[in-house]
Assembly symmetry: C2
Homo-oligomer: 343 residues x 2
Amino acid sequence: MKSGKPTINDVARIAGVSKKTVSRVINRSPLLHVATRAKVEGVIAEIGFVPNPQARALALRRNFLIGLIHDNPNAQTVLNVQQGMLQGLRDTEFELIVRPVDRHSPEMLADVRRFLECQRPHGVLLMPPIAENEALPALCREVGCRYVRMGSAVLDTPDRTVASNDSHVVVEAVAHLIAQGHARIAIIAGPDGFLSAAERRKGFDSALAAAGIALLPGFVAAGAYTFESGIAAGDQLLDLPQPPTAIFACNDEMAAGALHAARRRGLSVPEDLSLIGFDDTGLAAHLWPPLTTVRWPGMVLARQAARKLIADTFVDAEADPADERWLFESQLVLRDSVAPPRR
Amino acid sequence: MKSGKPTINDVARIAGVSKKTVSRVINRSPLLHVATRAKVEGVIAEIGFVPNPQARALALRRNFLIGLIHDNPNAQTVLNVQQGMLQGLRDTEFELIVRPVDRHSPEMLADVRRFLECQRPHGVLLMPPIAENEALPALCREVGCRYVRMGSAVLDTPDRTVASNDSHVVVEAVAHLIAQGHARIAIIAGPDGFLSAAERRKGFDSALAAAGIALLPGFVAAGAYTFESGIAAGDQLLDLPQPPTAIFACNDEMAAGALHAARRRGLSVPEDLSLIGFDDTGLAAHLWPPLTTVRWPGMVLARQAARKLIADTFVDAEADPADERWLFESQLVLRDSVAPPRR
DNA sequence: TTGTAGGCGTTATCAC
DNA sequence: GTGATAACGCCTACAA
């Protein structure tokens, strides 16, 4: 063997066949003598030949990179999504390549463009919140990169969408508060311009409306999906002359902030204040009291997104109906931060 | 322009020069007529030519992938490291490719081997805890992939190491407890076989020894770096007939668990129990009370590791002494979970 | 069923 | 300084 790693030529030479035959073995071409295949496979195993993915990519005029583009502030969420994508990519030849971006940077679009143009990934998953913006999908279409958007509601065509149904599950969450006897229910909203925020708000409003409960003045506090904004919102809500007996926070971080604010006032949760969050990243279970929240199915969404992104590469696979799914329900997780209001 | 993306041939044809000249422009060869360069650059900009990285990789017989291999259970830690690596890779042609592994899976080594052999990344960063195992580094050497190990102490040769000095900063943390008047100090240890756990334990023991304070029987509780194990360890410690007045937990998750355990007993922190954690991932600041902890410089370590992994690619750069560094200190972050013991 | 010739987009060699 | 020509490792088309 020459220096460096063995190539297809080495295999061909040693096996006494042509490169093409080796190529056929690698690519599982059906029209091959079993004997030939066995012989070549023997040589491959013997000399430890591994096809060079760069050369493959060049010859095939496509590569095997799946990108994850995100600007999600929550680490656990991002990691769950990464893991979901890796599940979807498992046992394929695709690799995951991660690209965090800064929504607020003026160079963000240029950065992503460079990434897409230089790497030409086979496809990318756009995570919320940046998936909700039209700029990135437009960019993907412009440079001819397939994509899937992940969101809290349908954002695009079904083949380019994986979504949870946030408004629906929030109705359920708020109904749970109402069932416990709460009527003074406030919301810590997500930031303007976030679809997830809008959807969760929509669910909140629907639930109140369905129960004939009024949204009291001052009972909507603006939040930014951060812990700190949750504290501020909690302060604002609890400083009301007639504060709420229950708060729905549009994510767990803000719920944790509100919990913080309540504690600083000597209020106990859930006795003095019931609290529900959203996401069920690790944080929720680790708070005291453990937070009742909504489990967002990020991992499942990501797995499905990865499948969609590579779906067209299984040429002979009849379209798997499982790959058509794009809507996945979140789930209310009951823990200890909700109780009937004190009278 | 033909269909598809413009190639170096298109540029050469339009600019009326040879491919090689275009290549020289791309690679900033110094021996080029300014006029030629300007002309070619004009054409490149005009038709939007972007070099194909696969073809480059093939011709150069190397690629531009830097891997992150990890089995770290903490999302924020992993994300910090990712971000640090991306900082180190910024404005280079390298891409980050992430590879979580399962330490307990029997196929783990085979998985990683396949990854290394198929993708042939230019280098990989091994994160703790898996970096502490010798199996992975050995595998890297076997397949000829350069690597850097990240750890809580020196694990390898300096060019293959970035490390924090955990035992050192833990001495400082425990000294802080002692300075507050604590003498009944317990530790929630990390799992056996983790270097970080051993180092932190070492620091703990040194600090007590230096102050002439005895480690009381039962004051070492085993932990597994998880929230749940922190609860169990906290329970065990607080159930002692003479419980500790202060606990050092070897990471924040376990400190959160201990906090949980304390709360369930109606103990308040820091009045009844002082608590120090380790890591300073988001969790610490979001607990109530905000947790005094040690900030582990994962992002800095990762940035440096990335620089080391690509250091040899700057052929003409005289070895940057900044790239030689491999030890970075952690830092004690004072918050509200420590107070003098109640008498 | 297998082999030959040629191309994918880039860089290295070595003349001019 | 610049340009033919030949790699790099693999695949497709077309023959045989």
